[in-house]
């Protein structure tokens, strides 16, 4: 592993972790909304969230380019008010990874919220607990396995994100050159086979580690929550 290799790995970890942490509260709120509430346009909201899952990633990246470009509605606003741009920056890679991870995370959390027994929440309220306390002490702990699963799924998805990222923020080494992008770039250059192998091995180890960690976390919390 060269210093360059390490910086690619660290950049990938940074992008994936930040993306997942930013998405988590939104994913939870959306999952709760879809699991617990009936409102007009619900199917539409559901479809929009899932769009990145079925769309070619390149199209998602292109859409992000339109939205976040200097003249785009969000990009222009960021530029005017905060003098911030995400174009060709690692923050742009975070946005691409976040959008791609969102549907997977919403799905995982939604399933676990739907599995929470509302009768237990009712029981808690008759015991004097406010809605907020019921959420904190009953709903959230019981939905925790889904939240953990969502974190791991989202992390793995972000780590592997390629299509949307490269079409949105291109390949800027040190900024947007995450693992898959760096591997792809190295494959195009003769004499870089060593780097391809090294980065591929790191990718396998990271993904494997995430899977094993999630399995352990789910088993541990499963002992507490899945029994009755």
């Amino acid at each position: 592993m060269t210093a360059d290799d390490w910086s690619i790995v660290l950049l990938s970890l940074k992008v994936a972790i930040v993306a997942v942490l930013i998405v988590l509260p939104f994913a939870f709120a959306l999952a709760w909304l879809l699991a617990r509430h009936r409102f007009p346009g619900r199917i539409f909201v559901d479809a929009i969230i899932h769009l990145p899952l079925v769309l070619p990633p390149v199209v998602t990246g292109w859409a992000l380019l339109l939205l976040f470009g200097r003249t785009g509605p969000i990009g222009g606003w960021l530029d005017r008010w905060f003098d911030v741009t995400v174009m060709f920056r690692w923050t742009g890679a975070v946005i691409a990874a976040a959008v791609m991870a969102l549907p997977l995370m919403v799905r995982a959390i939604r399933l676990s919220i739907e599995a929470v027994d509302i009768r237990l929440e009712d029981a808690a309220r008759t015991l004097g607990a406010s809605r907020a306390r019921v959420f904190r002490t009953i709903s959230l702990p019981l939905a925790m396995p889904g939240v953990l699963a969502a974190l791991v799924l989202g992390f793995a998805r972000s780590l592997g994100e390629f299509g949307a990222t490269i079409s949105f923020v291109s390949n800027i080494p040190g900024e947007t050159g995450t693992l898959p992008i760096a591997i792809y770039a190295a494959m195009q250059v003769p004499g870089q086979e060593g780097r391809v192998v090294r980065l591929a091995i790191v990718s396998v180890m990271l993904s494997l580690g995430a899977l094993i960690a999630s399995e352990l976390m789910i088993r541990r919390s499963g002992r507490q929550t899945h029994v009755l």
């Binding site: 008759t126 004097g128 507490q224 029994v227």
Partner: protein, 203 residues
């Protein structure tokens, strides 16, 4: 009057209609399954909103005349038929969940002794037998400082010896704590032994 209830609620095709007033002690709601007994308890607990009518318990209007007290403020000690112990919490944490300092039962250990569940405090609900779980459910309700108790078939799925034990416990709650109890059952022997008043629900 302990309970003054006059409610109507349409649930799907069925219409639950019930009116009664009863004095202190244990009021048994007796009727065949499907006559809306559990729905009635849920309305008194605030978990189900009646379409019309009023619910007054020991002089306090819980529903009607523009009032609709939320369940967490009604101070109902609800012992559910399916117990509903919190699976992710220990027995001790279940008991302590709704604990109030000003309750007749505010000491967890004391209540556990009263119910004979001192040995169970560190266990998980999933490891309890039916009778044990039922006693924990009753303890959890008592510790929440209830103004009245709602009990939904608390003896169902228990063998005779366990049922007899719990009945003894309910009699003590009725006579020593003097808590008004609204009690749902379809078992005549149980009603015969425990009830001060009987309200029969027709389908």
């Amino acid at each position: 009057m302990s309970f003054e209830v006059d409610v109507a609620k349409r649930i799907g095709e069925a219409e639950v209609r019930c009116a009664f007033s009863s004095g202190p002690g244990l009021t048994a709601l007796f009727g065949t399954s499907g006559s809306g007994k559990t729905s009635l308890l849920n309305m008194v607990a605030g978990l189900l909103k009646p379409d019309a009518g009023h619910i007054v318990v020991t002089g306090e209007t819980l529903f009607g005349d523009g009032a609709d007290v939320p369940p967490e403020a009604r101070r109902a000690g609800y012992v559910f038929q399916d117990r509903r112990l919190f699976p992710h919490l220990s027995v001790r944490a279940n008991l302590a969940y709704g604990r109030r300092r000003d309750a007749a039962f505010s000491e967890l250990e004391e209540t556990a002794a009263f119910l004979g569940i001192c040995d169970l405090l560190d266990r998980r609900p999933s490891t309890l037998s039916g009778g044990e779980a039922q006693r924990v459910a009753i303890g959890r309700a008592l510790l929440s400082g209830p103004r009245f108790l709602l009990m939904d078939e608390p003896l169902v799925a228990l063998d005779r010896a366990r049922a007899d034990e719990i009945m003894g416990l309910i009699e003590r709650i009725r006579d020593e704590l003097r808590l008004p109890i609204l009690y749902v059952s379809h078992n005549p022997a149980e009603v015969e032994r425990l009830a001060t008043h009987v309200v029969e629900l027709a389908r």
